[in-house]
């Protein structure tokens, strides 16, 4: 069970391969893994976006992601959970967030992955500032989905 704030590029597929090698070597208990990756788009609210700065509340983000994982582990039977979130400067196409859940069965994996992702988007203390062709702006609200 790991959550981490990254200041360097997030490479979701390499991170997943590494994590599985460490946590599941020789094990065949996980029948299902569900993964979500959120990536920076080059378009938001009709405007071209050239870059982004992701601010966060150090200390609170770590604690909040940790609590999300604990709460998910109470609600569903999970074998492992991995949550990675970028902060700092990002470019369009850069992955922002990875949520991965391993379980014996697929319903728990799907449900827990989605629940963590929705909670993270609505409650974890991160803020996006977008760089446009002219100037920059704070993102006002998250898309509902």
């Amino acid at each position: 069970m790991t959550s981490r704030i990254l200041t360097t590029p997030l490479e979701p597929w390499a991170a997943l391969a590494d994590f599985e090698r460490q946590r599941f070597a020789g094990s065949a208990a996980h029948g299902a893994s569900a993964v979500f990756v959120g990536t920076m788009r080059d378009l938001n609210e009709g405007d071209e976006v050239h870059g982004m700065i992701l601010e966060h509340y150090p200390g609170m983000t770590d604690g909040y992601l940790e609590r999300l994982r604990e709460e998910a582990a109470k609600r569903w039977e999970l074998l492992e959970t991995l949550v990675l979130h970028r902060v700092g400067e990002l470019n369009p196409g850069d992955p922002i967030v990875l949520v991965a859940v391993w379980s014996a069965h697929r319903t728990a994996a799907f449900d827990a992955c989605r629940w963590i992702m929705e909670e993270l988007k609505s409650r974890a203390p991160f803020w996006k500032r977008e760089t446009l062709a002219q100037g920059s702006r704070w993102v006002e609200h998250n898309t509902p989905g």
Partner: protein, 77 residues
């Protein structure tokens, strides 16, 4: 001792500073801390509050040494 106040994102920019260190005397809630630090300025609508890095309400109890944070709706993920 004192109470630390922190501001993030748009609110930090609007206030022009990322935090305040307040004398704990007379501060019992995050609302008290906001009023002390920002005088008559109204707390912007939708501002979220955390005490010791945990979500809290404006009228929750704070103690000497606590960290209070004010920030706009989150937009991560």
């Amino acid at each position: 001792m004192s109470i630390s106040v922190r501001y993030f994102a748009r609110l930090r920019e609007q206030l022009g500073r990322s935090g305040d260190e307040l004398d704990a005397e007379g501060i019992r809630t995050p609302a008290d801390a906001w009023a002390r630090a920002n005088g008559g300025d109204t707390l912007p609508a939708n501002t979220l509050v955390a005490v010791n890095q945990d979500y809290a309400s404006l009228d929750s109890t704070v103690r000497d040494g606590d960290e209070i944070a004010f920030f706009p709706p989150v937009t991560g993920g």
